[in-house]
């Protein structure tokens, strides 16, 4: 009798274990199916977002009049100041925004800041390169922390340089200015927490370095090359316009906010 009871109990236990494994397998398979559906949706979203970003990059490269290069730890921005591509660029991005939003109601394109100031971020350094406004006479470089070691500004002036005055405080940040007038050129070490001013033609073109840099040109349009030498933090350097493409699919409960990368 005891043997029979033991046999039945062990059989029930084995059956229960097999049943539990079967149920586990069943629920895992169901979950796997849901995850795959989510992967598919995320893939679709990623690809659409990437294609839109690529379009913005093409518009930027072809119509902004700004050339950006990355050479090692040096990021270089080259453009005319004032930049007369503002209207064309603005119309292009507005047209692209209108087109995309008319094609897909789940996508919102935010371009107000892009059109107005054309602010670009250097990541992961929290440095921005922008304008006030784009098409205006100011280039503004904003920094969050000292993770760079040199500013290099090259000016190909659309005017003759008559005077050049430097007012700087000694520090550890290297600043180099190059123009077509050798008497104006210099390389100095400055304290960027102080107000450092280089004044060309008595306020015609002013470079101010004070926790960031402002280049203001009140004279004829001039080509400005701004080079920022970054400290090595062993991370990939990218330059992008951020928070442009907002995608939200409420039925899938997923959303994505991204910009477009230039470098």
């Amino acid at each position: 009798m005891k043997k029979a009871v033991l046999f039945t109990v062990s059989l029930i236990m084995i059956s229960s274990i097999v049943l539990a494994l079967a149920v586990l397998n069943f629920t895992n398979a169901q979950r796997g199916k849901d995850r795959l559906a989510e992967f598919g949706s995320l893939d679709r979203m990623y690809e659409i977002s990437n294609s839109i970003a690529f379009g913005f990059k093409q518009i930027f490269n072809d119509n902004s009049g700004i050339n950006i290069t990355l050479n090692g730890l040096e990021v270089t921005f080259e453009e005319n100041l004032p930049n007369n591509n503002d209207d064309t660029f603005s119309n292009m991005v507005q047209g692209y925004k209108n087109y995309i939003e008319s094609e897909d109601a789940n996508i919102r394109i935010t371009i107000d800041e892009l059109k107005e100031d054309l602010i670009l971020g250097i990541h992961p350094y929290n440095i921005t390169y922008g304008h006030d406004p784009f098409g205006g006479n100011k280039i503004i470089v904003k920094t969050e922390q000292i993770n760079y070691n040199k500013y290099y500004v090259e000016i190909d002036p659309g005017f003759s340089i008559n005077s050049c005055t430097w007012s700087t405080s000694l520090g550890s940040l290297v600043f180099q200015l190059k123009t077509d007038d050798a008497q104006c050129d210099d390389t100095v070490s400055i304290d960027e927490s102080q107000n450092n001013v280089i004044n060309i033609n008595n306020g015609g073109l002013i470079i101010t370095i004070n926790n960031g840099m402002i280049i203001e040109n009140n004279l004829a349009a001039s080509k400005i090359i701004t080079k920022i030498s970054l400290n090595n933090i062993n991370e990939k350097i990218t330059v992008s316009a951020d928070n442009i493409i907002n995608m939200s699919y409420n039925d899938l409960d997923i959303s994505k906010n991204s910009g477009f990368r230039i470098i």
Binding site: V18, D43, R44, E47, S51, F54, M92, E103
Partner: protein
């Protein structure tokens, strides 16, 4: 005194109850195993479908990055498609602008198997204006 039998079977009740119990338990386990197996096989299919869809996106993205879509040249896109598309797939690509509509590849979208579909956007920039492009695709296993 002999125990009363519920069923008038030759060998009594114990064996049949035990057998029934085992059979019911086995049936439940088998149903669960078959159901889970069906789900797993479906998941594998879903994974293949996902790969098909990814393959389609890879191809249109390549065409986009190499500016083949922007040129709006059906022959050029078709040539690239022949190079990029694996032999086991068939694909239709439709490139649409405000005033042009180009269809490349494939003959007819099948309705007896999984067809992955998607779209991407691109732009062809000019000096003063741009052409905005929507590219849709349908891809399936041959």
């Amino acid at each position: 005194m002999m125990k009363k039998q519920s069923w008038k079977l030759r060998y009594g009740n114990k064996a049949i109850i035990f057998t029934l119990d085992a059979m019911i338990a086995l049936a439940i386990v088998l149903v669960m195993l078959i159901a889970s197996n069906v789900y797993i096989s479906r998941s594998i299919n879903e994974l293949n479908n996902l790969e098909t869809l990814r393959g389609g996106y890879d191809i249109v993205s390549m065409l986009n990055y190499y500016n083949k879509l922007q040129n709006l040249n059906a022959d050029e896109i078709n040539n690239e498609l022949d190079t990029l598309l694996s032999e086991k797939y068939d694909m239709i690509i439709q490139v649409k602008t405000n005033n042009q509509n180009i269809s490349i590849g494939g003959e007819k979208i099948p309705n007896d198997r999984f067809v992955g579909s998607g779209k991407i956007y691109s732009v062809r920039t000019g000096e003063t204006n741009s052409t905005y492009i929507t590219t849709r695709f349908w891809i399936w296993l041959k």
